[in-house]
C-alpha cells in the first residue's frame, strides 16, 4: 500500500501572507488541525507543457498547525503593550509556520510513512512531488509541489478499511499453530468452492508469545455451510467462542 492510495487530496491551504486570524478561522470552520502553506498563485513556477497537470499544482512553503496559532496567541497576550509585536490575529502565517518539515512522496509506502509519524511524534505529513533538477536551471531552489496530505486519521481510515470495517461481514479466526499456513490455505479453498467472498484477511506477526492467528472477514451472513466443511476437514476455527467479549477487550 502506498501513500497516494490513502492520502487526502482535497486540500484547504493558506499562503504565507495570510493573517493568522484567517488561518484560525479556516481551522475552526473545517475542524482541521493542519494547514499546508503554499506559494500564492501568481508566483507559480512555469512548467513543461507535456505535464500540464503539474502546472496547476501549488508549491509547498511550509505547514501551519493549530498549536502554532495557540502559541502565537498565548505570547500575544503575555506582552500586550509591546510595540514590536502586532496583535496575534494580524501577524502573518509566514512568521510562525514550519518551513523545514518532513515530507513524503505519493509512492512512499504507507508502512514507512506510519513509522515516520510515530517515531517523530507527528500528526501530519505533506505529500509532495519533486521536480527533476535538470529542468530547474533557471531557479535557485527546487520547488516541492504539494499533491496531498497524510494525517493520522487517513491512516486510521486505511486501517479500518483493511480490517474490512466498512463492509458488512462475518469474522472468523483460524489459528495457525507454529506458523503453519496450511489450515488457512485449505479454508480459503473451501470458501472459494462455496462462493463465499473474503473481504479482508490478516495474518499479523505474533506479539509476545501469542499464537499466530489469521483473521478472516467473510462477506456472508450465512457462514454455516463453510463452518460445516471446516469441521468435516478437521480445520480448527474460532467463531463466537466461549470466552466472553469483555475478556478479549481487556488484553
Amino acid at each position: 500500500m502506498i501513500v497516494s492510495e490513502v492520502m487526502t487530496t482535497r486540500l484547504v491551504t493558506v499562503t504565507p501572507h495570510d493573517t493568522l486570524s484567517h488561518a484560525a478561522n479556516l481551522l475552526r470552520q473545517h475542524q482541521f488541525h493542519h494547514l499546508p502553506v503554499v506559494r500564492d498563485a501568481s508566483s507559480h513556477v512555469p512548467w513543461e507543457a507535456d505535464q500540464p497537470a503539474r502546472n496547476s499544482l501549488p508549491v509547498l512553503e511550509g505547514l501551519l498547525t493549530s498549536q502554532d496559532i495557540d502559541l502565537a496567541a498565548a505570547v500575544g497576550t503575555e506582552s500586550p503593550g509591546d510595540a514590536e509585536h502586532s496583535p496575534w490575529e494580524e501577524r502573518s502565517v509566514a512568521e510562525v509556520m514550519h518551513r523545514s518539515i518532513i515530507r513524503v512522496t505519493p509512492t512512499t509506502s504507507v508502512a514507512a510513512a506510519a513509522q515516520i509519524l510515530v517515531e517523530q511524534g507527528l500528526n501530519c505529513l505533506p505529500v509532495v512531488e519533486y521536480v527533476d533538477a535538470e529542468n530547474m536551471e533557471q531557479l535557485s531552489e527546487t520547488p516541492d509541489f504539494l499533491v496531498g496530505l497524510l494525517t493520522r486519521s487517513d491512516l486510521l481510515v486505511a486501517l479500518a478499511r483493511t480490517l474490512g470495517a466498512f463492509e458488512p461481514g462475518t469474522e472468523l479466526l483460524i489459528p495457525l499453530p507454529a506458523g503453519d499456513l496450511t489450515p488457512l490455505a485449505r479454508m480459503l479453498l473451501l470458501a472459494a468452492g462455496l462462493h463465499v467472498k473474503v473481504q479482508s484477511l490478516i495474518v499479523a506477526p505474533p506479539r509476545d508469545s501469542a499464537p499466530r492467528v489469521a483473521t478472516v472477514r467473510l462477506g456472508t451472513i450465512n457462514p454455516g455451510p463453510l463452518l460445516v466443511r471446516l469441521q468435516e476437514a478437521n480445520i480448527s476455527y474460532k467463531f463466537a467462542d466461549f470466552q466472553p467479549e469483555s475478556d478479549s477487550h481487556a488484553s
Partner: protein, 660 residues
C-alpha cells in the same frame, strides 16, 4: 391492556406474490416459512384469508418511492438483473452488475423478477406504515376504519443498503416506509429491531436524522454479520443520540435478554416520544436458529412483542407496524413466533397446542432438512438440540438447559446496559427508570443529605415572581406530585407535559432521588431540581451526586432556576458532598429560547456558578463528545482531600468505556 376496539382495527398484509422472494431450497431464506405461517394462522382460526376486515391490500413501491432510500443506479441495476432471464444472454453484464451491487450466489442471488417482488414487499411495508398514520398511501380508509396495528410478515429486509444488496435483502422496505412518512408528515418514527443481526441498513439510512430513532438489539458484531452495531454508533450531526445499539453476548438467554430490553427501551422511548412505532421481529434470536448464537426461547421472543405492543399504546397512541425479518429455523420457529405475534397484535389468545393437522403437514419438511440443520448447529458451537418437532406454541424449558457461562454473559450484558443508558438516556429520564442493579444506600436519601438531623423533612418556601407567587418545596413526596400537574412549557425531557409529569412522579417515588419543585398555588409545576447519586460512570464514590434542573418555557427569565437551585441545595451535608451537573447540548431547548448553543452554555454555567459550581474539563464520554457540552462541579469544603483527588482523577481518566 387490550381494548375491544383495537381487535377490530388490526390488519395483516400478505400477498401470494410475495412468496416469489425465495432463494431456493439450498438457501437459508425460503418463502415456504410464510406458507407454513399462513397455514398455521388459518388452522388455528387466528386469521381467515377471506375476511376483508382483517387484511390490507398491498401495491408495489414505485421507482420514485424506492429512490427515497436507494440510489438510481442501484435500482436500475436491480431492474436490469431482474429482467436478464437466461445466463446465456449477457452473462458478462450480469456478472459485472451482480458483483458491483452486492449480489452473489451465496447470500443474495439476483433472481429473475427480483425487482418486482422486492418492490412489492417494500410497497407492503409502506402501505402498512402509511395506514396507521393515516396517509393516503395506506388505502385512504376513513378515520374509523383506519387500522391501529398492521403486521406485514414478508417485510423486514433491514440489511439492504442505499446502493447495494446485502444479507438476503434487496430493497430496504423499512427504510422506504419510514422515509415516505418523513416526507409526507410531521411524525417522529421509532424503529425497534429485534433481529439477531444488527439493523445496519435502516440505521445507515437515518444516521443523521433526529426524527427517527433506530434501536437495534442484536448479537455482538465481534464475529457475527454484519459486524457493525457497537454501542458507540450513536448517530451523527443532528442525529447524534438517535441511533441506539445494544450488542448482546453470543449465547444470551431469555432472562438476560428480557432484563436488557426492559432496562433500555422504556426510558429511551420516553425521552424520544415517537408518534409511531415500527418493529422488526426477526426470530433468528431463537436457540434453534442455524445462523446466530443468541439462545432465546419463545418466552423471550414473546416478551419482545408484548413490550413493543405496550410501548405502542403508551407512547404512540397505539400506532404500530410489525414486520418479519430473519428466522431460518423455517418450520419449528418462524410459524410459531410470527403466529404468536399476530395473536398479540390482534388481541387474540395464543392457543397452547399447535394443531395436530398442521404438525402433520409441516413436520416432514423439517425432517427433510434436520440432518443438515444439526450439522450447522454444531459448527456454530451451539448446544446440540436433540429436540423433536414442537407440539406447543411455547417452548418447553427443559429443552433449553441454562448455559454454564450464564453468569458471565449476564454480567457482560449488564455492562452494555449501563453504557447504553449512560450515553443515550437523559439523566432526568434515567432517574425515573432506575436500573435494578445498583440499590440505594442503606439509608434514605433524606437522612444521607441531612447528616446532622434537620428538623423539617420537607420544607416549603414562597417566591414572588413578576408572573405571580410560586411555592418551592423540597423532598417532594409522591402524593404531592400526584396532585400537581406539569405546566405546558415543561417538556424538555419527555416532549409532552403529561409525560414529564409521569417522569417527575417516578423520580419522587425513587428512594434514590430528591426532588425539589416550584409550582403555582393553582398546582402547575413550573420548575424542578433533582438530586441523585451519580450513575455507573461514578461508581466507587459515595458522596458524588448529580444535579439536574429544568424550568418551564413559559416561566423563563425570572430567575426562578437560580432561586430553586439555591433552595434545593440548602442541605446539611452540602459541604460533605461533591455535586456535579452535566449540560448536554442535544437536550437544550435552544430553538425555543432562540439562542445559540454557546449562549445556552453560558446561561447554564452562570446559573450553576451562583451555587459555586465550577466548569471542569473531563474525558467523560458524553461531555467530551460535543464541544458545547459542559461539566460543572461543586466540591464541598469538608470533603476528604483524598476523595477529591480521586474524583478529579476520574474526570480525566482515560475514557475507558469498557470499564462500565
Amino acid at each position: 391492556m387490550l381494548h375491544e376496539h383495537t381487535r377490530s382495527r388490526t390488519r395483516l398484509i400478505f400477498d401470494q406474490s410475495e412468496l416469489a422472494y425465495d432463494f431456493g431450497a439450498e438457501h437459508p431464506l425460503q418463502s415456504r416459512r410464510l406458507v407454513a405461517l399462513m397455514d398455521l394462522l388459518e388452522t388455528c382460526g387466528l386469521w381467515k384469508h377471506n375476511d376483508d376486515q382483517k387484511q390490507l391490500p398491498l401495491r408495489a413501491a414505485t421507482v420514485e418511492e424506492l429512490s427515497l432510500v436507494h440510489t438510481a443506479d442501484y435500482i436500475a441495476a436491480v431492474q436490469r438483473l431482474s429482467a436478464l432471464q437466461e445466463p446465456a444472454t449477457g452473462e458478462d453484464e450480469r456478472q459485472d452488475l451482480a458483483s458491483k451491487y452486492g449480489f452473489d450466489e451465496g447470500d443474495t442471488p439476483a433472481l429473475p423478477g427480483v425487482h418486482e417482488v422486492s418492490a412489492r414487499i417494500a410497497g407492503g411495508t409502506m402501505v402498512a406504515l402509511s395506514a396507521v398514520i393515516g396517509l393516503p398511501e395506506g388505502g385512504g380508509l376513513s378515520e374509523n376504519d383506519r387500522p391501529l396495528h398492521v403486521f406485514h410478515p414478508a417485510g423486514g429486509l433491514h440489511h439492504a443498503l442505499a446502493d447495494r444488496a446485502s444479507g438476503f435483502c434487496v430493497y430496504n422496505d423499512i427504510a422506504v416506509a419510514i422515509a415516505h412518512v418523513l416526507r409526507s408528515s410531521e411524525a417522529k418514527v421509532l424503529y425497534i429491531d429485534f433481529d439477531a443481526h444488527h439493523g445496519d441498513g435502516v440505521q445507515r439510512s437515518f444516521y443523521d436524522e433526529p426524527r427517527v430513532m433506530t434501536i437495534s438489539l442484536h448479537e455482538s458484531g465481534r464475529y457475527l454479520f454484519p459486524g457493525t452495531g457497537d454501542v458507540l454508533e450513536l448517530g451523527e450531526g443532528l442525529g447524534r443520540g438517535y441511533s441506539v445499539n445494544v450488542p448482546l453476548e453470543p449465547f444470551t438467554q431469555d432472562d438476560s435478554y428480557i432484563e436488557t430490553m426492559n432496562a433500555i427501551l422504556p426510558p429511551l422511548v420516553t425521552s424520544f416520544a415517537p408518534d409511531v412505532l415500527i418493529s422488526q421481529h426477526g426470530c433468528d434470536t431463537h436457540a434453534w436458529d442455524p445462523l446466530t448464537h443468541l439462545s432465546l426461547t419463545m418466552r423471550g421472543i414473546q416478551a419482545q412483542m408484548k413490550l413493543a405492543h405496550q410501548l405502542a399504546h403508551t407512547y404512540c397512541q397505539g400506532r404500530w407496524v410489525a414486520v418479519g425479518g430473519g428466522g431460518y429455523d423455517l418450520y419449528r420457529v418462524v410459524p410459531r413466533a410470527w403466529g404468536m405475534l399476530w395473536a398479540e397484535i390482534s388481541g387474540q389468545p395464543v392457543p397452547e397446542k399447535l394443531p395436530e393437522a398442521w404438525v402433520q403437514r409441516w413436520k416432514p419438511a423439517w425432517l427433510a432438512m434436520e440432518e443438515q440443520e444439526e450439522a450447522t448447529q454444531q459448527a456454530l458451537r451451539k448446544a446440540a438440540s436433540s429436540v423433536n418437532f414442537p407440539t406447543t406454541f411455547q417452548d418447553r424449558p427443559e429443552d433449553f438447559p441454562a448455559s454454564p457461562r450464564r453468569w458471565t454473559i449476564t454480567h457482560t450484558n449488564r455492562r452494555t446496559i449501563a453504557l447504553v443508558r449512560h450515553l443515550l438516556v437523559p439523566p432526568t429520564v434515567r432517574k425515573a427508570f432506575p436500573s435494578n442493579q445498583r440499590l440505594s444506600p442503606m439509608a434514605g436519601i433524606f437522612d444521607l443529605l441531612h447528616l446532622r438531623g434537620s428538623q423539617t423533612p420537607s420544607r416549603s418556601k414562597s417566591l414572588e415572581t413578576p408572573a405571580g407567587l410560586l411555592l418551592l418545596r423540597d423532598f417532594c413526596p409522591p402524593s404531592l406530585v400526584e396532585r400537581l400537574r406539569a405546566d405546558s412549557g415543561l417538556h424538555t425531557f419527555a416532549r409532552f407535559p403529561e409525560r414529564e409529569h409521569q417522569l417527575l412522579l417516578s423520580i419522587a417515588r425513587s428512594p434514590d432521588c430528591a426532588l425539589t419543585l416550584a409550582h403555582t398555588p393553582a398546582g402547575d409545576i413550573v420548575g424542578e431540581v433533582t438530586l441523585a447519586p451519580g450513575d455507573d460512570w461514578w461508581e466507587g464514590f459515595e458522596n458524588v451526586y448529580e444535579v439536574t434542573t429544568e424550568v418551564s418555557a413559559n416561566w423563563r427569565g425570572m430567575g426562578i432556576a437560580r432561586h430553586l437551585l439555591a433552595f434545593a441545595l440548602e442541605l446539611d451535608a452540602l459541604e460533605d458532598m461533591i455535586l456535579f451537573a452535566m449540560g448536554l447540548s442535544w437536550h437544550w431547548d435552544t430553538e425555543g429560547l432562540k439562542i445559540s448553543v454557546h449562549h445556552y452554555r453560558e446561561l447554564i454555567s452562570r446559573l450553576f456558578a451562583s451555587q459555586d459550581f465550577v466548569e471542569h474539563a473531563t474525558t467523560e464520554p458524553d461531555i467530551s463528545m460535543e464541544p458545547g457540552n459542559i461539566l460543572l462541579v461543586r466540591v464541598g469544603k469538608n470533603v476528604n482531600q483524598h476523595i477529591v483527588n480521586r474524583f478529579f482523577n476520574r474526570l480525566q481518566s482515560a475514557s475507558d468505556l469498557s470499564r462500565l
